[in-house]
Symmetry: C4
Subunit: 414 residues, 4 copies
């Protein structure tokens, strides 16, 4: 995908707003998470440095607000007396409450990680059977966000009913604290959270973990679809996750989003153009935008991508309607071409072309496809088109590239 455009038109939108009962994530959450870059090697310093960098780089002005501490913050065991979770005193000498206060003092929000199993994926104590004490402790610590993983779940999966109950337990425990805590469910799409989690989670992961790679197949992410996938795994290439997302976009909306996993932009496994595709597609599919790079040490290219305000605006558009794949065609050189289109507020629209073939492609875009959902009257109108990856004369992303009617040709590089 090398182009993303925005079209003006004449309709209005209806979207139901249903979610976990906390009023959060009316648009997809934005922030930063320790895992993709630092893995288990985290500490108070790692997190505060990143928080400072968020502010210093003005990322807060673009909407990035959650600083999320992923796995491995834990002491070897819970408190012997109370059963409450305890943080690693070496990594967090001042405790989590102090860390949370400092982050709040920077105008940011603070997220934590746990797991709906006996252990976390990194082998720390999990929350299964400890939902109340953990939620209560998080609330006391000032936590604003919980990423809740799926390792070591004692076989508690296999039907939507079983998976729902396990995650609903934590959702209800969080709500019972009285503190609004965004619930980011991470069961890797098992049993179809898009079908059952709208009322209990603000977002749900749809697949195994992302790999910082454009399209390489990896046996560790073996399913060809996330529908009824029994081994989500990890090492899922970025464009495979886009394929995975195509059928489930219909199930997301304000307060309940498909999470395509944290961003890899800036981690080095893809080219600039591939990261542009990554950010663009996560945006129009209304995935949470959670940075996963070392934001204390970014190139200008990385910063440019993650601060494209026009692309972010689409992600945060109030209509909350993920783009749909209107067609997908095999390219003769291998890989695929696909057209994605979505509706925004105020009669504007977005479309994107994705090229996963190894060759440059020139593709005819037919407005009958872009506006298939809107019907014939939309398909024949004239539209002003903006390329969201070119800057306009005032230096803002989103340059007008002319008026089109009927369709246009688009060339997409490799």
């Amino acid at each position: 995908m090398r182009l993303i455009t925005s079209l003006v038109a004449l309709t209005s939108l209806y979207t139901a707003v249903l979610a976990a009962d906390n009023g959060l994530a009316v648009t997809p959450q934005m922030g930063w998470n320790t895992w993709n870059h630092f893995g288990c090697d985290i500490s108070e310093d790692t997190i505060l440095s990143a928080a400072s960098a968020l502010v210093a780089n003005n990322l807060t002005q673009f909407g990035y607000e959650y600083v999320i501490m992923d796995d491995c913050w834990h002491a070897p065991s819970r408190d012997n007396q109370t059963g409450a979770p305890v943080a690693d005193p070496a990594k967090f000498p001042n405790g989590i409450k102090d860390l949370s206060d400092k982050i709040h003092a920077m105008g940011l929000k603070f997220g934590i990680y746990s797991d709906a199993g006996t252990y976390t994926c990194g082998g720390r104590f999990g929350s299964l059977g400890h939902e109340q004490i953990d939620a209560q402790t998080y609330a006391e610590w000032g936590v604003d966000y919980l990423k809740y993983d799926n390792c070591y779940n004692e076989g508690l999966s296999g039907t939507p009913q079983i998976s729902h109950e396990r995650y609903a337990n934590m959702s209800q425990a969080l709500n019972a604290t009285g503190r609004p805590i965004l619930f980011s469910m991470c069961n890797w799409g098992e049993d179809g959270p898009w079908n059952f989690a709208q009322n209990i989670a603000n977002s749900w992961r749809i697949s195994g973990d992302i790999m910082d790679n454009f399209d390489r197949f990896d046996d560790r992410c073996p399913c060809t679809s996330v529908i009824d996938c029994k081994l989500p795994g990890f090492h899922c290439a970025m464009s495979r996750i886009i394929d995975f997302a195509a059928p489930v976009g219909q199930k997301a909306g304000p307060g309940h989003w498909n999470d395509l996993d944290m961003l890899e932009i800036g981690n080095g496994g893809m080219t600039f153009d591939e990261y542009v595709t990554h950010f663009s597609m996560w945006s129009i599919l209304k995935s949470p935008l959670i940075l996963g790079n070392d934001i204390t040490n970014m190139t200008n290219e990385t910063l440019a991508i993650i601060t494209n305000e026009a692309v972010i605006a689409i992600n945060q558009d109030a209509a909350g309607s993920p783009a749909n794949r209107m067609w997908k065609r095999s390219a003769s050189e291998g890989g695929d071409l696909s057209l994605w289109a979505g509706s925004l507020v105020n009669n504007t629209f977005v479309f994107a072309l994705l090229n996963t073939s190894p060759a440059e492609q020139t593709v005819g875009v037919d407005l009958a496809d872009v506006f298939f959902d809107q019907g014939k009257s939309y398909q024949t109108q004239a539209y002003e088109v903006f390329d969201l990856w070119q800057k306009d004369g005032a230096g803002s992303w989103g340059k007008s590239i002319g008026i089109i009617q009927g369709g246009m040709n688009v060339t997409i590089g490799v």
Copy 2:
């Protein structure tokens, strides 16, 4: 599909009559529903106008009798005191009982919509856990029909047992009211209602929602079969639903029907010939025939299709035996050809040819295929053939086109 014919022969039929314990839908229900055309934008006026149009257009004489108010009739919440459902007082200033009385006064029956979940698909209050009070209120309102949807079901799916229990709860609540209320189950085919719902429902949807389109693939309707489909979705093209229906016709019969979803005829997304195919195939597959267009404003073409008394007679035939697909063949131009055949009462039969290719096709119809189920003696007889989409000399649908033996050639346009 451009031709539908009826043949005379010499057999009798046996069909078990089992259904929800209410004596309804001995033949597939017929009527009109608000959703396909009006969506959430409904009111007392919308519904009464449609009811009046049903009568004014003489549609009642063709069997259309249910006027069904789909989603979004609800007040923001249930009655605080009693927990009973409440209608939106702005949309329904005279209440639902008054609306129901007026519809009954026109000689029509009145249907309502709810959902076996926490919320309806449009985000209104659902009936899960409120089955008794809701069924009782519907009965008090004079409701004759309940369409019962599947959104926000709290993960209560995954095995036939789980899905059955959720829908049986409402079925039993309806029966307990003492009022005969047709139970139109809409769980989109999850867990195979054709296997488990014969005793609890008068009809069950088999797929995701229909799209007003002949055959376009849409990622939002991703399954290639409805057997064990884990994401029924919506935007299912009309001819894809016909494919979906092929294996499950065997499970339907008097009192318990496969519901291929409401009709799109007159909504503008297909050509006249495509709508003829739509109506013909819904008819021979014994789907409920629920109009989904604006019947206050119809073209003559639309009216002609939905009032073809010969096609309706096949749908309402007392044998209640859905047609079967006798063969399906790929066309060289893409798409498929298929032959469908079914048994009617009084030793008459129906067959249809369906062409989803982009080219006109001339197909040899072998009576050995049409009468495969009936055996050799039937395969060699002579039959008078009637084309149900031509009018006879008296102006009635169903013109005799001659006597055939062995087989005939049929040309099917695009």
Copy 3:
């Protein structure tokens, strides 16, 4: 399949004997059932006439012993007072006990039919929730055999655990009567009875109902495998059931058999050679051999097939080891060729070649394939081969056709 041979060799066999706790079906049961020919149209006379014909045709000497009354023997409802099952007094004016006594007096055994659901497939009262009273009544009636069907099961399927419990309830009720009653489970392979029913049933159906046809695909039998098939259906062509049986032969043995469904031999839908294939394959796969034709009115050809004592001997061989498919190859004309081989007692073996292509085929049979399971020493020996569909000089089936070593060529007609 046009050839079936028997080879002499030098090994012994071990087979575990586990089954429902009744000591029955040490070899696959043999008999006759009303359904395939008479359907619902049965009476005392139908059944006694068939029993008399079994005796008159000397079929008892070949092992056919069970006379099984399938669906539709029922009165409209159970006994009001006791809840016990009641037979249709018009069809069975002397009652079932009397019928059973008469059948026993002929030296035969008597079987009955019911269903693990609310209704039988023909719409009569089912046994779900009535297991004790029904089993007790059957025992009082002198019943020796129960075929137990799967219609209208109220959604009680979806995991092996759910299906097992439903069928185990009847199995235990039968055992509790103290009368040995062969339990013929008929859940069409749902949830894999080959995995869970060895201890509760003497046989279990593996697929939807057979169709009297060699190989026609029918949408009503839609699954391509019986492993995890969610819609077994019916109208399964004979050779499709053979395909279905290939992977599950490993799970059968003395007392617990795969049931490939009742025989169609003599019902007219296949040629003589096709019925020879049908009987041969059912035999070597150790299916119960339950006749399904009108045995009061048989051709000599039909009688010749069902009384081939050499083929029956393989079915009834004490080793109880179903043949395995050693290879399957596509034929250039369409259809497949396959080689099947099985072990018998006393170091004898059987192999069969199956040709589902429309052309005559000459196939090289390599003893390395036939004796793949037995190992190299067996593969290089010399064997005397008997063609079980030719008669020897004394008029018995099974003519020696010479000594082979290494392999042989076999020609199989259409």
Copy 4:
């Protein structure tokens, strides 16, 4: 696979150590088991002879320590009074405790077999519902290892929850004895033990039983993947199990291993080179290495393979990280080529090429593939390569074959 090499590099590894709560199998268990060679034909003598041969052949020095008595050690029934398991007094005249003592006296450990069902696969009494008495008795007998099979499980499968509960019952019973007993779970991969058994078992079988054959397809092992396989069966060719293992390696680690089934080396069904492949792949995939041949009567070739200390060292490497398949390509002659790579401690690595085609292949190995997981800095370094199936000058396995950078060509024979 005809080559296996080891590379030196510069990284470190993180692996979570989680397992059944017994501290065992920190590296994959090694030993010998009666089944593959002796089947049910076992006795005290069989086992003691094998134990003596383990010692006499110095196999203990290579890590082989468990002597495991598989199925058929049982008396016809449990003790009437206590319900405790009883051994066959004819086969084990001195009892199991005595046998265990003798094995311990040789410096070995003793393993036993049972089944999480009503019967064992060989038809002996199973442990389902007898977990406490059985575990207690095993502990009293001095048992160090339990292989726990899956036959006749009364339908207790179908969701991870159901299967987990059945196996967790025995796991907890073993732990409750206070004796460390390695728990080798053998449910053939049903319901995905790689997803649910890490906390309850030290290893879990992933597939149906192995067949002593390189790559023959057999209908008795019908699934094309072990993910959601509903009929694991047996007669699974060695290289099919390797394919099965590819996606699930990610789930294994110290204390919880994927078990690819017992070794067939020395049983005669494969060539020397094929057995080299077998041992190499089991090693790098971190399968338990349990010999299955008659170790009292081995060829020098067999002994040479199973005592390759370099290959064993990879299996027992402390990192405990199974190799991953980096790519798989179809060969033009049929079969596949694949590249596997894994990380070891001390910045060393292993890779292997597997050739299942019938022709010799020369394959370019690109270090960008070998070190895909490690990243670019690793991909461009120089490495010393050791061929683990050649001996160095001192007579030890693992000859240096030079320094490579970027990649190398490898020729793999048939």
